[in-house]
């Protein structure tokens, strides 16, 4: 009965286009359980758990807000989840071992990192056809795209580079050496900077998108923690370009950075092994996945406070928020 109500609520929200935290729905991939946990943004309670493909990791919302794309890494495919129907309705080809991916700002195509294959696969999400494959470095992982959709960035973990790819020609136009094991790439909303986290390097490399030079390396220091525990993974920058949040893995903290001065302002204690993060629509909240404590944390962005943790499935990996 609860499930039925939930579907009705989601449908209403989608139709009405409301954009408050109260109405949103949070979707979390549980890598170990082969499930997606659904959390109601108003009550912050788990409303249901949906079985999906094997080893679900990357998850992202379609630009029209109607579908979720989910990397089923061990099934070597992308699953398409229909939000209104609350069900997997199809699959997309992904190449081997998809982990992270990014949608073009226009909503199509989808760019997928094939961690096992040193490739980026480009897929048309409407026709379900594979458009092409782009050879990159060893173990491609992080995926970012410029707001105008012209430049795609793939980071490769063993090659330690951010590859800049022209989305028209699908050719690599530049390779920027960054610190060890780059895990995640995020363009700022104005398209001027690319933020890349280095898990083993323990840093964030800020790259100027025009000159393609590393303009700043941000380091971290947490009292009582050895440098080795600081392993930046996910990074999110607010649309106004004022704040950046960096998930620091086994440091169990999210670093808050002034994105203008690059100063680290604060460290917010979240769950264990924090990896990925997602803002809600109005950026009032940031949700983090904590893989070793099997929960997600809710960060109040205005007050820079962790307000709640919610138990989800085993080894939560990725998170997406549907308004």
């Amino acid at each position: 009965m609860k499930v039925g109500l939930m579907v009705a609520a989601v449908t209403l929200v989608t139709v009405g286009g409301m954009r408050s935290a109260a109405a949103e729905t949070i979707y979390v991939t549980n890598e170990k359980d082969n499930t997606v946990t659904v959390v109601d943004g108003a009550t912050l309670e788990v409303t249901k758990t949906i079985p999906v493909g094997q080893r679900p990791r990357g998850i992202t919302l379609s630009k029209d807000g109607k579908r979720l794309f989910i990397c089923a890494s061990d099934d070597n495919e992308i699953q398409v989840f229909d939000i209104a129907r609350q069900a997997i309705v199809g699959t997309l080809p992904s190449g081997p071992d998809p982990e992270q991916f990014i949608l073009a700002p226009a909503g199509n195509p989808l760019y997928i990192a094939n961690e096992d294959d040193n490739m980026v696969t480009v897929v048309d999400v409407d026709s379900g056809e594979k458009i092409t494959e782009i050879p990159v470095g060893v173990e491609p992982e992080g995926m970012g795209i410029s707001p105008d959709g012209k430049i795609l960035v793939s980071t490769s973990e063993t090659t330690n580079m951010a590859h800049f790819i022209d989305t028209e020609s699908h050719g690599i136009v530049d390779n920027i050496l960054v610190d060890s094991r780059p895990r995640f790439a995020e363009f700022t909303a104005d398209g001027k900077q690319l933020w890349v986290t280095s898990e083993i390097g323990g840093t964030v490399n800020v790259i100027d998108a025009a000159t393609r030079k590393v303009v700043k390396k941000i380091g971290f220091e947490v009292q009582g923690l050895n440098a080795e525990a600081i392993q930046p993974v996910g990074v999110r920058v607010t649309r106004d370009g004022k704040l950046a949040f960096v998930a620091m893995g086994p440091a169990n903290r999210v670093a808050v950075i002034d994105a203008q001065t690059f100063e680290v302002k604060d460290y917010l204690l979240v769950g264990q092994r924090v990896w990925q993060m997602a803002f809600n629509a109005d950026e009032s909240r940031l949700y983090t996945t904590n893989g070793n404590s099997n929960d997600i944390s809710v960060i109040d962005v205005a007050n820079l406070e962790v307000t709640k943790s919610i138990t989800v499935g085993n080894q939560p990996w990725g998170v997406a928020v549907a308004p």
Binding site: T158, N175, G202
Partner: protein, 408 residues
């Protein structure tokens, strides 16, 4: 085995300097820089595998180095660096030093040594090898990181003390503090046993009893062997005063496996068999290791071993230095690898660096059962002011290596 007795070969060094870059550097475009790495090993008479479950290998170590070159070249496509591997596989009983000198004569500066301790020392002490970087990817001997350390040698293979400490930390976390130590008769069995005794002392475990197992050499395949072993092992382990865990040192896989499930008292077996401390294991899937495992199996047609992993790390360390410095000469690479900026990623959740006091690579130790990763040391709570990895093996204050003095 002190420093070289041969001092008269100075002219030879000068003669060699005139030799051009390694031969492998041919037919590459002008804007691509070539980096040649040499790999040297001596074939050994391999026994058939202990168990039919084991995969026999004839290229242990070598495949790790080759895959390292592949990975380096994927990166090199973007940095315009091309890596090649010059392989010297010396036949059983062949002249390793002569083969090594041939590599030096070709101009090689970066050498992967997949050799036991005695041969490693023999090549490291060749006078013209002074300005070379030799990576030990095989020998675990503690002496190579102590009194017998060499200024031109770095070790990517963990030594016995690191492995024993990694195991001991876990046993103490389990509160299995009373050990029954069983040692084989091989020299390497004794070396690992010494490291285990040191670990027991460091982490306050008690060796309640120690016994030597003299495994008579014999055929590895038999039709009815289990019946005899089933009678032999309970008797051998009988009458040991109360202990928590049997710790075995049987480096050659002669008898250790037989102890499991056959001890007089119901006790787990750890050490060289049972729960093993190791640099790498097929079951390791943490920190992106799945990709490494998949890549290796696809490349080599078998599982990655500790030696393959150590060789891969050595090749990757060189490329890390050439990529970061954009230089390929010995002095730059050597300085970078030993410097504070260096760190190599090895699928262990943190960067790996070399200790400046003995050239040993700091690294977490995997504790693996036959089919799963059980734990990874250092264990939580074993603290260190600089790096928790330095709770494993020889820390700065306790080193007996005079590497700095030797280098000057």
């Amino acid at each position: 085995m002190r420093r070289p007795r041969v001092r008269c070969a100075g002219f030879l060094v000068i003669a060699l300097l005139a030799v051009a870059a390694p031969a492998a550097a041919q037919d590459t475009p002008a804007d691509v820089t070539s980096i040649s790495i040499a790999y040297i090993t001596e074939r050994v008479k391999d026994l058939p595998p202990f168990s039919l479950v084991d995969q026999p290998t004839t290229d242990n170590g070598l495949m790790g180095a080759r895959l390292g070159i592949e990975d380096d070249n994927t990166t090199g496509r973007f940095t315009k660096q091309k890596f090649t591997l010059d392989e010297a596989v010396v036949p059983i009983g062949g002249d390793v030093v002569a083969a090594f000198r041939d590599l030096l004569a070709k101009g090689h500066k970066f050498i992967i040594s997949d050799l036991p301790a005695a041969q490693l020392l023999a090549i490291a002490d060749v006078p013209e090898a002074k300005d070379t970087l030799i990576f030990n990817v095989q020998a675990k001997d503690d002496a190579l990181r102590g009194e017998q350390c060499r200024a031109n040698v770095l070790h990517t293979m963990p030594n016995y003390a690191i492995l024993a400490d990694g195991l001991a930390q876990y046993l103490m976390w389990k509160r299995w503090a009373n050990w029954f130590l069983v040692v084989g008769t091989g020299d390497d069995d004794k070396l690992f046993a010494a490291a285990l005794r040191r670990a027991a002392d460091r982490f306050s475990a008690t060796i309640v009893e120690e016994r030597v197992f003299d495994a008579a050499p014999g055929a590895r395949r038999t039709d009815t062997g289990y019946a005899l072993i089933q009678k032999q092992m309970p008797v051998f382990t009988q009458g040991v005063s109360d202990y928590d865990v049997l710790v075995v040192s049987d480096e050659r896989d002669a008898f250790g496996e037989y102890l499991q499930y056959r001890t007089w008292d119901a006790r787990p077996v750890v050490g060289t068999q049972g729960l093993v401390p190791t640099a790498w294991h097929r079951s390791q899937e943490q920190w992106g290791a799945t990709q490494m495992q998949n890549r290796f199996v696809k490349f080599a047609g078998r599982w990655m071993t500790e030696r393959d992993y150590s060789a891969w790390l050595a090749v990757r360390s060189i490329s890390e230095a050439t990529t970061r410095t954009n230089k390929t000469d010995y002095a730059s690479v050597n300085a970078y690898i030993r410097g504070p900026e260096f760190g190599v990623a090895g699928f262990k959740g943190q960067k790996l660096t070399f200790r400046d006091w003995d050239g040993q690579l700091r690294q977490p130790v995997l504790l693996a059962g036959p089919r799963t990763l059980v734990s990874v040391s250092p264990q939580e709570g074993f603290l260190h002011q600089f790096s928790e990895l330095d709770t494993l093996g020889f820390d700065r204050p306790e080193t007996t290596c005079k590497i700095k003095a030797a280098a000057q």
